[in-house]
Amino acid sequence: MSIGARLLLCALALGNPPAWSQEAPPVTLEKKATLQDLAAELQTRTGARLQIDSSVENKVLDLALKKVSFFEAVDQICRVHGAVRYFEPPTGGGFGELTLRAGAWTEYPTSYDPSFKVIVSDLARVKSQVADAEREWCRLYAVLFGPPWIPVDYASGARMKWSISEAVDADGRSVLEAKGEREPEQRIDFAFQPTISKGNVAARALFLRSFDIDRGLKLVRGTVEATLADTSEATLILEVGKAVDTPVGRIVVNAAKEHDRNADGTIWRVGLTLEPKNDRIPLGKVLEGRFRYPGSLGTTWTSMELPLQGHSFDALITREAALPKELTLRVRQGERKTVIPFEFRDVSFKKG
C-alpha cells in the first residue's frame, strides 16, 4: 500500500542493509538534533530504511546513546520525542522499513538483542470449566520484532520455537510449567494470541501456571529459536511464457487469466511454476508465502498458499480492474537457525 506523499524519506543515500546473518552494528548517537536528522543518521549507520509521517512534529531531541542495538536506538528516539511511535496494536514492526507516525509512545516490558527485540504485550489469567475439569492458568504474550531487514512473520516462512526457562511471580514463586505440561485441553478459546500480531513480528501466547496478573512477574527468562532465511526479490512480467531467473531456479508464468468478477472488481489468477535447481526442496522453503504488485491503490502485498508438493502454484490478485503488469516474489535462501535470548524483570501493566 502506498504511503506516498505523506511520508518524508529520511535519507536519500542508503547504505546496504545488513543481511540477516549480520548483526546491525551497535549505534552511538550522542547529540542534540531534530527527529529527521537523528532518524537519517540512524538510517545511515544501520542501513535500515526509516520513514517519517508528515504529521510528526520534527522536534529537537537530546540523545545520549552509546553502543546500543537498532531497536534500543529507535525506541529511545520515540521515548524522548514522546509523541511518535513505529508500532501500534495490532500491528508490530515494519517490513522492509520502519515508519514513524504521530502517536503517544507506549512502554512495554522489552528485552533487546543486537538485531531483534522481544516484548511482553499482554498478560492474562484464564479460568475454564469443561465437562470433566475446572482449571486455571496464565498466559504471557510475547512478541518478537524483526528489524526491517529481517522478516520474521509467518508469511516469510520463518519459524519460531519459544521456550521459557525461568518464570517467577511477585512472591518469588516459580510459575513455570512442569516438564511436558501444556495448556489444558479446551473446547473453545479466545485471547489465544498477543494483541500485537501483525507486521514484521512473530507472536506467541506462552503458558504459565496461575499467578496474580496485577502484581505481575518478577522475572521471566527464555529463548526464541528462530529459523530464518536471506531474501531477495524476483519480479515477473505478467505475460504467459515470461520468466525470471532466481538463485533457487527459474520461475515461469504459465497462466494469467481473469477468473471471476464481483462487485469489488476482477479476480485474476496467475499460474506460476518454479523450475527448481534442487527439486527436493519444497516450495515453502524457497519462496515466501506472499507477493506484491503495483495495484490501483499503489503497491499491494498479498499472501498466497504454497503447495506442500510440486512446484506449481497460483497467485491470486483481487479487486483490480486490469491485470497488473508485474508481480514480485520473495526468494528465500540460506535458511539457518539463530537463538534470541530474552529476559524481563518486573512485568506488569498498570490498570486502565
Binding site: 512495554y108 475454564s128 465437562a131 485471547a191 494483541t195 500480531s197 497462466a255
Partner: protein, 393 residues
C-alpha cells in the same frame, strides 16, 4: 424397523395413563420425573387426557409438568417417525463391577463402551429407568466420579470427575455447555475481563445433521444474571478471534457475557436440521447457461480457471434462506470422459444471503460439468432450552 415402530405406537395408544398421572403428583421427585418420562413414552394419544388434567387446575408443579408434556410429546413422536426411536435403557446394578455395568449398558444402548485407566472392578450402584443414552452416560459418570468421551470409535469412560455444568435432555439430544471460560486480561492501559459461554447440543451417533458448524444452531432469547439483567456483550478488542476444538456428534456456538459474580441463566432454542432428500445438481462449465435453480437457491458458476497448480471453480449461491453453504455436501468436477474428480474447498465468503466459494481440483483436469450434492429438503428439530445456575469460574 418400521413394523416395530408401528407396533410400539399401537401399544402405547392402548396404555392407560391414569396411574402415571397419579405418580406425577408423588411426594418423591424421582417418582415424578419417572412418571413424566413414562407418560412421554405413551405418545400423542394421551394429549387430550393431559389437557383435561390441566383444566382440573392441579398444583403449580403438576401444571408445569403437564404443560411440558403437552408440548414435548408431539415433538418426540415426530422425531421418532423421522429419525427412529431414542435409545433408552433400564438397568439396576448394586455393587457390580464397572466393566459389567458398561458392558450391559453398551448392549442396551447399541454402543461400544470402554474404560481408560479406570479400575474395571470398581463397585457401581446405578438405577436407570427408561433413561436416554445421554442420561445413562451422565448418571454412570456421576456415580463413578468419572467422565466420558463420545467418540467415533465408541464411548470411553476416563478419569476426571464431571463438573456441575447444567444439562437438559431431550430424546436423542443433550444440551449443555461445551465450556465456560473466564479470561482476565492486562496490557498497557487495558484491564478487562470477559466470559465466553459455549452452548452445545450433542446427539446420538446415528443422527447426521446438516449444517450448524457456522454458528447458527442456537437462537438465544436471553442470558441473564441472578437479578434478571441481560449480561450479553460484544467480544473484547483483545479477544483475537475464536478457536473451536470441535467434538464429533455435537454442535456448538459461542456468546460473550459480562463477568458477573452470581450464576447465569441462558435460554433459547437449539435447532438441529436433518437432510431428508439429497439431490445432485450439475452446472455446465462452458456455455450460456451456467446456472441452476432450486425453490430456495439460485446457483451459478462464477469462475473457471486451469493452471499447472490446479483447476479452480467459483460456485455462487443466492439464497432465500441462511445456511446454504453447509447444504452443499460434496463437489466434483466431471471431465469429458465422465470421470468425477472430488474438489476441496478454498477461499470463500459465506453470508446469510448465500455464498461465493472456490473449489479446487487436481491439476490437468479439464471439466465439462460441476456437480454437487445438495441437501434439498431439511427437517429442523427445534429444542427450546433453559440452562440455569451456570457458574462463572
Amino acid at each position: 424397523m418400521m413394523l416395530a415402530l408401528v407396533l410400539s405406537v399401537l401399544f402405547q395408544s392402548q396404555s392407560d395413563p391414569g396411574p402415571l398421572l397419579e405418580r406425577l403428583r408423588s411426594d418423591s421427585v424421582v417418582e415424578r420425573e419417572e412418571a413424566g418420562r413414562s407418560l412421554e413414552r405413551l405418545g400423542p394419544g394421551i394429549i387430550d387426557r393431559l389437557k383435561k388434567e390441566l383444566e382440573a387446575n392441579p398444583d403449580l408443579e403438576t401444571k408445569f409438568r403437564l404443560r411440558q408434556l403437552i408440548e414435548r410429546i408431539p415433538k418426540i413422536a415426530e422425531l421418532a417417525k423421522v429419525y427412529g426411536p431414542t435409545r433408552r435403557v433400564t438397568l439396576s446394578a448394586h455393587d457390580r463391577p464397572l466393566s459389567e455395568v458398561t458392558s450391559e449398558l453398551g448392549k442396551a444402548l447399541e454402543e461400544s463402551i470402554g474404560i481408560e485407566d479406570l479400575d474395571p472392578g470398581q463397585a457401581v450402584t446405578l438405577d436407570l429407568k427408561e433413561a436416554t443414552l445421554w442420561e445413562a452416560l451422565d448418571r454412570l459418570a456421576k456415580t463413578t466420579k468419572t467422565s466420558y468421551a463420545y467418540l467415533p470409535s465408541g464411548i470411553r469412560f476416563k478419569k476426571g470427575e464431571m463438573t456441575d455444568l447444567p444439562v437438559l435432555y431431550f430424546e436423542q439430544f443433550r444440551i449443555s455447555l461445551a465450556e465456560v471460560k473466564y479470561v482476565d486480561h492486562r496490557s498497557p492501559g487495558v484491564s478487562e475481563a470477559a466470559v465466553l459461554l459455549a452452548p452445545e447440543v450433542a446427539f446420538q451417533r446415528n443422527l447426521k445433521p446438516t449444517g450448524g458448524k457456522w454458528g447458527n444452531t442456537f437462537a438465544i432469547e436471553s442470558i441473564q444474571d441472578a437479578a434478571g439483567a441481560d449480561v450479553r456483550c460484544k467480544a473484547p478488542a483483545w479477544a483475537s478471534g475464536i478457536n473451536f476444538a470441535r467434538q464429533p456428534f455435537s454442535l456448538q456456538q459461542h456468546f460473550f457475557v459480562r463477568p458477573v459474580g452470581g450464576p447465569v441463566t441462558i435460554q433459547g432454542t437449539a435447532t438441529v436440521a436433518f437432510s431428508q432428500e439429497n439431490r445432485e445438481i450439475a452446472i455446465a462449465v462452458k456455455g450460456e447457461n451456467r446456472e441452476a435453480e432450486t425453490p430456495e437457491v439460485k446457483f451459478s458458476l462464477g469462475g473457471y480457471t486451469e493452471t499447472p497448480a490446479a483447476t479452480t471453480i467459483t460456485l455462487k449461491a443466492d439464497s432465500l434462506v441462511p445456511g446454504s453453504y453447509e447444504r452443499v455436501k460434496s463437489v466434483w468436477l466431471l471431465d469429458h470422459s465422465g470421470k468425477r474428480h472430488r474438489g476441496s474447498p478454498g477461499r470463500g465468503e459465506i453470508g446469510p444471503g448465500g455464498f461465493t466459494h472456490e473449489f479446487s481440483f487436481p491439476a490437468g483436469v479439464t471439466g465439462k460439468e460441476v456437480v454437487f450434492e445438495w441437501a434439498a429438503t431439511l427437517r429442523p428439530v427445534e429444542i427450546p432450552f433453559r440452562l440455569t445456575g451456570i457458574r462463572i469460574p
